[in-house]
Structure formats: C-alpha cells, structure tokens
C-alpha cells in the first residue's frame, strides 16, 4: 500500500525519504532540548550535537533534490513531535535530555546499519557515494550516543521506560516515513 509506484528507483526513494525525515526530526529534538536547557551547563554540548545534525540535514536536502525524491507528508507532524519530545525530555532534567539522546541515536545508528546492509546487498558499486555518506553519518550518531552515556543518561528518572518508549516511537516514525 505504499506510494512506491510513483518513483523511478524505489530503493533509493525510501532510503532518502526516511533519512531526510530522521535528520529533520533529530534537528527538532535538539531544538526542543535547547529551548529548555540552552542556558544550562549542557547547553554548549547540545548545541554542538545540534550543529552536526544541521549538517546532516543539509546533505540530505541536496541528495533529495539530486535524486528527485518526494519528502514524507508527515514532515509537519515530525516538526511538532520532535520539538515536543526534545523539550519534554529536557524538562525531566539534563539527564532526561541525555537519555532521550541515547535512545534516539541508538535507534538511528541501528537504522543506518540496516540501510548500509541493504545497499551493499543491492549493489555496492552503484551506491558507493550514498554508502559513504550513510556510514559517516552513522559514525556521527554513534558518537552522539556515546556522549549521552558519558553524561549520565542512565541515571535519568525511569531510564529504561523512557528509552523503550522513545525507541518504539522511532520505529513507528521510520516505518511511516518510508512509506508515506
């Protein structure tokens, strides 16, 4: 029931659409966290991670135009949901924000790994450039994940519940953004 019939290359189409949506969402999450914790001691750290996400988004914007990929209809929704998640987790405190970061970045790293596997199975030569980009971004997200852990994410209130809930949300977001 996907809209795949409308695209030239369904594989690339899905991958770019969901990655674009993901980076867009990540941007909004960090924006939400900054809105609450911007002037706290972790402010500069969050700002730095946010800047990296902005670079990621810029790269995907370029790739979307180059491959003529349709962005997901759900962008306005991710806009709001991402900000609310970021601000909400930040209201739980610095550790809450870090926990959110850990959860999201772990989901995204796993997701990028899946994509790398798919592309390698399909045709590593044809998708060389894209593979390079995704590998680089996966490494960046992994770094964010580690930073979150270093800053006492696991000491956050209800850490495991929070983490499970956020990761479930990410799975749903990925599923929908690939298709719609």
């Amino acid at each position: 029931w996907t809209l795949d019939n409308w695209s030239q290359n369904p594989v690339i189409d899905r991958i770019l659409r969901v990655d674009h949506a993901g980076e867009f969402g990540a941007n909004r999450i960090y924006a939400g966290q900054m809105a609450v914790l911007g002037r706290s001691s972790v402010g500069p750290l969050i700002q730095q991670m946010w800047n990296q996400e902005k670079d990621h988004l810029k790269k995907f914007n370029e790739l979307m135009v180059a491959y003529r990929v349709r962005p997901t209809v759900l962008l306005p929704f991710w806009n709001v949901a991402g900000f609310v998640l970021g601000a909400g987790s930040a209201l739980l405190g610095k550790k809450g924000a870090m926990a959110c970061t850990v959860a999201v970045e772990e989901s995204i790293s796993e997701h990028y790994n899946n994509q790398i596997r798919t592309l390698i199975e399909e045709d590593p030569e044809k998708y060389k450039e894209l593979l390079q980009v995704i590998k680089q971004f996966r490494d960046d997200e992994q770094e964010h994940h580690d930073i979150g852990l270093e800053h006492d994410a696991e000491a956050a209130p209800a850490y495991s519940v929070l983490k499970t809930a956020i990761q479930l949300g990410c799975k749903v977001a990925i599923f929908l953004s690939e298709r719609i």
Binding site: N5, N61, L75
Partner: protein, 314 residues
C-alpha cells in the same frame, strides 16, 4: 536441408506455443484467439526473417521465454519505458505500442474506440482482430496518448533547459515558465479536442485511476523539476497540488472554449497562475507576520520572567 526444415517446424511450434502461453495472461477468450490470429497475420508478412528468427528462438528458448512471463499485468504499464528484449523480435508491449500509435490518427474520426484501434492495426498490415487485445472502452489508447504527450513535454522542457544552460536563452520567470509549460502540454490535445471529454471520463473510471493519477502526478512533478523547484519540505506538496489544480481547471475550460485559437483558455491560465503567485506571496507574508508576532510574545514573556526574578542561570 531436412534438419533445417525440422528445426524450422520445431521453431514454429515453439513460437505458436509461446503465443498460447502468453495469451493465458489475458482472461478474455477472444483475446486468445485474436492474439493467435494476430501472430499468424503478422508472421505471414515476415517472409525472409522467419527462418532465421525461429531458428534463433529454438537456440535460446529460455531467454526468449523468461522476459514475457514476467509477472506483469495483462496490459502494458504506462509508468515506465516499453520493454526491449532482443533486436530481431518484438515484445508484446512494443507491438501494442505500435498499434496504439498508429490508431491515434483515426481518433478524430472514430473516437477513443476499438474501431480506431482496428483501423490503426490495419495500417500496420495486421489483422483487425488486433483490437481484441485491448479493452473496448479505449482505456489503453487514451493512457498511451497521455503517456506520449508527457514524454513530449519532458523532451521539450529538457531542450529548453539545455538552451538556458548554454546561455542561448534567457531563464524565464516562474509564472511565465509554468504558463508556457501548461500551455504547451494542453496544445497537444487540440487535434483530439472534439473527443477529449470522452477520454477524460474514461480516465476517471476506477480501473484507470491509478494509472491516470500516476501520469498526472509525474507530469506535474516534471514541470516543477524543470522550473527549478528544490523544496524538500511541505512546500513540495503545496506547489504540486496548486499546479495540478491549475492544469485540471484549465483543461476543463479548454473543453468548453470556442474562441479563436483558444485565447480564452490561455487568458484563464494566465489569471490562475497569477493567482497562485499572489497566494504564495500572501502565504509568506502571513508567515513572516506570524513569526514577528511570536517574537513579540517571547520578548514579552522574557521581560515578565526577568521582572519576576525567574530568569536565573541554572
């Protein structure tokens, strides 16, 4: 000699067998008979190549069989390019493509009907029964026509873009570009304008809606792509929706238009495009006003927090 004759008859049997296997993809029985009749009629016209081509088929039956037994529906897809298997022998899809192209010249007289298709098949030297390969309401003919028009439009836009890149032409402002693209596309309907309302109603049949919608959206996407649209946010959708609206309404106006050279239609188009430009200007004005208001509110909130002493560094 005898061996060649034996090979040739074995090849002929394979050829007929393949035709029957492929016909099983077409539910209507008359299509089965029609296709076999078509095959016989077309083979009668191929004298010399027959011996060599059947020989080749005998040599490589697996390759010859696989492409046709692809899990495709009984009708050619209008979303991609036609299939191109080996050079000497034509795929079902290519043959249907040729028949439909030939049928177009009979549309002004017969409408989008099986008669037009039959006449087209006749000009190719095929049996009139070839019309049985298609639905009686002319769906495939219309979809084929729309697909061809879209391809022509893409070509036109691509050439224009090349001229601009080479510096031989000026880059058009957006409203003029959209106007010209829609006008160029609609002008392709002029030779068939009498029968076009009939075609529109066929395109709206539930069976045809996925294909016709697909063709419409890819055409609109093409126009925006060559217009230089690089949006990756919700604007992507708004722009395409707006242009689709402009295109559809202008098409309907064109059906009713009896002015010389369709000048009423082009004036209508100009006004609609101008409206769209104004609307987008208004939208961005509203957005910047909204942003200014939010800034104002945030400023007020910070001031109040400061006054109340709530704004401490944590």
């Amino acid at each position: 000699m005898a061996a060649a004759g034996g090979l040739r008859s074995a090849g002929w049997r394979l050829w007929r067998g393949r035709a029957v296997v492929r016909c099983q993809q077409y539910p209507p029985l008359r299509a089965l008979q029609a296709s076999a009749a078509l095959r016989r009629a077309s083979d009668e016209h191929r004298k010399e190549p027959l011996g060599s081509s059947t020989q080749q088929h005998f040599d490589s039956p697996p390759d010859g069989h696989q492409p046709e037994q692809k899990p495709q529906g009984p009708h050619p897809s209008y979303t991609g390019q036609g299939g191109q298997e080996s050079e000497d022998y034509e795929s079902e899809e290519q043959l249907q493509h040729r028949i439909l192209t030939a049928a177009l010249e009979f549309v002004p007289e017969h409408g989008w009907t099986a008669e037009a298709i039959a006449e087209g098949a006749k000009t190719l030297g095929l049996s009139v029964a070839a019309a049985g390969l298609f639905h009686s309401d002319g769906s495939e003919l219309i979809l084929h026509f729309v697909s061809e028009c879209n391809t022509k439009l893409s070509e036109l836009l691509r050439k224009e873009q090349k001229l601009v890149q080479l510096g031989e032409a000026e880059k058009k402002p957006l409203d003029e570009f959209l106007r010209d693209a829609v006008e160029a596309r609609l002008r392709m309907l002029i030779p068939y304008i009498e029968k076009w309302p009939q075609a529109l109603s066929v395109l709206l049949l539930p069976r045809n809606i996925p294909s016709s919608l697909n063709l419409l959206t890819s055409m609109i996407d093409d126009i925006w792509h060559y217009a230089g649209d690089q949006s990756t946010d919700f604007n992507w959708y708004t722009r395409r929706a707006v242009l689709t609206g402009i295109y559809n309404t202008t098409e309907l106006v064109m059906m009713q238009d009896s002015s010389p050279g369709f000048e009423d239609t082009w004036r209508f188009l100009e006004n609609r495009v101008a409206d769209a430009m104004t609307m987008s200007n208004t939208a961005s004005q509203v957005q910047s006003t909204g942003e200014a208001v939010v800034q104002g509110l945030m400023g007020a909130a910070v001031t109040i927090k400061n006054l109340a002493g709530l704004n401490q560094r944590r």
